[in-house]
């Protein structure tokens, strides 16, 4: 394994690991805050138990997200010092703001987790909401830095060096709105369906359990709203990529030849050596219609770019197909739930609905991972699109397979351990201890 490949793999691994916890960290506080709001509003202790149980899960995922995020902030320099030397002054701004968002997140999570009896109920709920808000802002700032790598603005090149730096223009680069929107909705989508799936699993065993019914209701509401608005953000993102990063769009779609009335390929495998995408179901003019809202629009193919500037389309195309497939599946599931709720004021009674929810539980996260593959692999061979190549940004350090092996092992073990502890201590745990001086939580809680 070359050092460049090792560096890229280490970065990819660290991000792939972190992004799961980051997404949960964005959405989960809102779920627990909603549950706590319902407890304060309705006085049903069931919602208090629910908020406390979800808070335990949030604490575990937040802790892992915090340390894996710390690793990333160092790895930017450990693996890509040339990139950071060049870009630090241009995009450090959103990272610094992210630092503060992370601060408030950590502070109010501490208050939320340990302050059930120490702070007044309304303040406690407010702490939960502040954790959620800071989580959303944290994500937003990090995405601003990433979107700058895709559509770098806010500087001018002079003899290969950035001059006339404008960090504000860099922050508000053209790709930030669609990336931020898409990712934030995805966090709620994946977390909502993920949590709903866990409670569906419990309901399959004990269909009348009030606790899990209530939990499913809240989590699924969040997930379904996200699923139903996702196509709007997906359409917007697609059109922006068409406009801003045509090489990435060509890779995503497995499009080699530049053409008008470009077909939309569903499935298929791009074969770069032959310059074709095989085994795809082609919908005539579909791509032109989607990317430009005009069936006759010209869509650039990979061949329009010099070979050294082309991303390899295999991963972006396959990942994109998976992401869109998942999005469609969750959208349909969301429609079913909405339709049933509108007609009967209840979720579908069918056991198949619960089974599908269980299947859907990990899919949202898979969608996040594949979507992120599309963005990052589709940006290659650039680390800063059109400005700096990934291979020129890597550290001169050698033997990078060692840290790669180390972090692979570490994250692999952590993933297992976190999953086991989460399962035993949050999902299966029969009772979350009630607050001292209060009566035990409702008897229907747990399993």
């Amino acid at each position: 394994m070359s050092d460049l490949l090792a560096a890229r793999s280490t970065m990819a691994l660290s991000l792939a690991f972190h992004i799961i916890f980051a997404a949960i960290g964005i959405a989960m506080p809102w779920l627990m805050a909603i549950a706590e709001y319902l407890w304060l509003r309705r006085g049903d202790r069931l919602y208090l138990s629910l908020a406390r149980r979800w808070a335990r899960g949030t604490a575990i995922f937040f802790a892992v997200g915090a340390v894996s995020g710390t690793v990333l902030s160092f790895e930017l320099g450990l693996l890509w010092p040339t990139f950071m030397r060049y870009a630090g002054g241009i995009i450090g701004m959103p990272f610094s703001l992210e630092g503060f968002a992370f601060f408030t997140e950590a502070i109010f999570l501490g208050i939320y987790l340990y302050g059930w009896e120490r702070v007044p109920p309304r303040m406690h709920l407010l702490a939960g909401i502040l954790v959620g808000l800071s989580g959303v802002f944290s994500g937003l700032f990090v995405i601003m830095a990433n979107s700058w790598m895709n559509t770098p603005t806010g500087f001018r090149l002079e003899n290969g060096q950035p001059v006339d730096i404008n960090p504000i223009a860099a922050m508000f680069n053209p790709a930030w709105p669609h990336e931020a929107l898409h990712m934030t909705i995805a966090a709620f989508l994946a977390t909502g369906f993920g949590v709903a799936g866990l409670h569906a699993l419990m309901l399959l065993r004990r269909p009348t359990d009030r606790f899990h019914r209530a939990a499913l209701g809240i989590a699924l509401s969040v997930g379904v709203i996200a699923a139903l608005i996702m196509p709007i953000s997906g359409d917007y993102a697609g059109r922006q990529v068409y406009r801003l990063q045509p090489a990435k769009l060509a890779a995503m779609e497995g499009e080699f030849e530049t053409q008008r009335c470009a077909p939309l390929r569903i499935g298929g495998i791009p074969i770069p050596s032959e310059g074709t995408t095989r085994f795809a179901l082609e919908i005539p003019c579909g791509l032109s219609l989607l990317a430009a809202h005009n069936p006759n629009a010209e869509v650039k193919g990979l061949n329009a770019f010099p070979p050294s500037d082309r991303p390899n389309p295999i991963i972006p195309h396959l990942a994109f197909q998976i992401m869109v497939g998942i999005g469609v599946f969750l959208f349909l599931l969301g429609l079913w739930a909405t339709w049933s709720y509108v007609r009967r004021r209840a979720l579908p009674a069918s056991r198949w609905f619960l089974r599908l929810l269980i299947i859907a539980a990990p899919l949202g996260f898979l969608g996040i991972e594949t979507g992120w593959f599309v963005t990052e692999v589709g940006r290659q061979p650039w680390i800063i699109y059109g400005v700096m190549r990934t291979k020129d940004a890597v550290t001169p350090m050698t033997g990078l397979t060692v840290p790669f092996a180390l972090f692979t092992l570490l994250y692999f073990l952590l993933a297992i351990v976190v999953a086991v502890v989460f399962w035993r201590q949050v999902v299966q745990r029969p009772d979350i201890p009630p607050l001292p001086g209060q009566t035990p939580a409702v008897a229907t809680e747990g399993d």
Partner: protein, 347 residues
């Protein structure tokens, strides 16, 4: 000496580093005492530590992130050089930070399973003990002339940290964090016997701090002339040393006399002064003898915006932090207000 914008940002980074040492450092020290918990009250000691750290350790950790982002936003070449030259100890540090953070929360939630809890407690304690040494090694190495740059590129290889001075600073940091944690912990319990346990530990750690301080100063002569000259020959040298020494001795006296709130203030004060002295001695360098604050500074507009961002952030951060500490620590200095700690995280 006229202070420019880069100097102001560097000063803020130093303040953040001091905050990290005083808050996050004590959390590391807590891990050391978890590892060394002994005697009839070993379990109670561990519980006190977990209890004291629980609500605040995530927030304390963020100071480190703040130092890192200020460094790479305001001084990108320094960040790139440090991350390259110190790649190996920083990687080890990261593994330590990951294991520590994860094991702490896993231990807290494995409350009904003693064996699992002990296992995670051990991971937490060991990684908390290793991490400060590595932090010290990083600080120590950038203070020596071991890192060499040519046109901003590191030419001294990846092993410049393999030197006695850097390790001495590493163990000095460990001793200081352990001392600080033990002093803080005297106020995190109301049980007189536990309080005595931590008082004895603090006094023991004070001896280690003294020995390591002497070692660092002794080795600094040859390894870190910049620091040594800075510490000895500037106008502020004498008053700073006198004040630092007075605080360190005062902390020990206060411990001896069981004036715990005073001990807490003085122990924190002497660490803050040591880091302040280090920063002043390093000035104007970020990497001793190689890269100055001025040379490494990002363009003025970046620094101006960063300063505005830091000020705006502080407006949100400081009241939030004050609220956090008032809620759980009775305002930092005067220990737990109630004895009936009652959260579901520890029972």
């Amino acid at each position: 000496m006229v202070l420019g914008l880069p100097d102001i940002i560097a000063a803020i980074a130093l303040i953040a580093l001091i905050a990290y040492a005083l808050l996050g450092g004590a959390d590391f020290g807590g891990g050391v005492w978890d590892l060394l918990a002994s005697g009839p009250r070993a379990q109670a000691q561990r519980e006190t530590i977990a209890h004291a750290i629980g609500p605040i350790w995530e927030a304390n950790h963020v100071w480190l992130i703040l130092v890192v982002v200020i460094l790479f936003t305001a001084f990108p070449p320094a960040f790139a050089a440090i991350m390259t030259a110190l790649s190996i100890p920083l990687h080890v540090l990261l593994v330590g930070i990951v294991l520590r953070g994860v094991s702490f929360v896993l231990r807290a939630y494995a409350a009904d399973d003693d064996r699992t809890q002990r296992r995670w407690g051990r991971v937490f304690a060991v990684s908390s003990t290793i991490a400060p040494v590595l932090l010290g090694i990083v600080i120590g190495t950038i203070s020596t002339s071991a890192i060499r740059l040519e046109n901003g590129i590191v030419v001294s290889g990846f092993f410049s940290w393999l030197q006695p001075f850097a390790f001495a600073v590493g163990f000095f940091a460990l001793a200081q964090f352990a001392f600080l944690a033990a002093v803080y912990l005297t106020l995190d319990t109301t049980d007189p016997a536990l309080r005595e346990d931590f008082r004895r530990r603090a006094l023991g750690a004070a001896v280690a701090v003294g020995i390591m301080a002497a070692t660092v100063l002794l080795l600094a002569g040859a390894a870190a002339p910049t620091i040594r000259n800075g510490l000895l020959h500037r106008w502020w040298s004498l008053p700073l040393h006198v004040l630092t020494g007075a605080m360190a001795i005062g902390a020990i006296v206060a411990l001896w006399q069981r004036w715990y709130p005073l001990a807490r203030i003085l122990a924190a004060g002497q660490i803050a002064l040591i880091l302040l002295g280090w920063g002043l001695a390093m000035y104007p360098y970020l990497i001793a003898g190689q890269l100055t604050i001025q040379q490494a500074a990002a363009p003025a507009i970046t620094l101006r915006l960063l300063l505005i961002g830091l000020a705006a952030g502080a407006v949100i951060l400081l009241p939030s932090l004050a609220y956090l500490f008032r809620t759980f620590k009775g305002g930092l200095l005067f220990g737990p207000l109630q004895t009936s700690e009652s959260t579901d995280e520890h029972h």
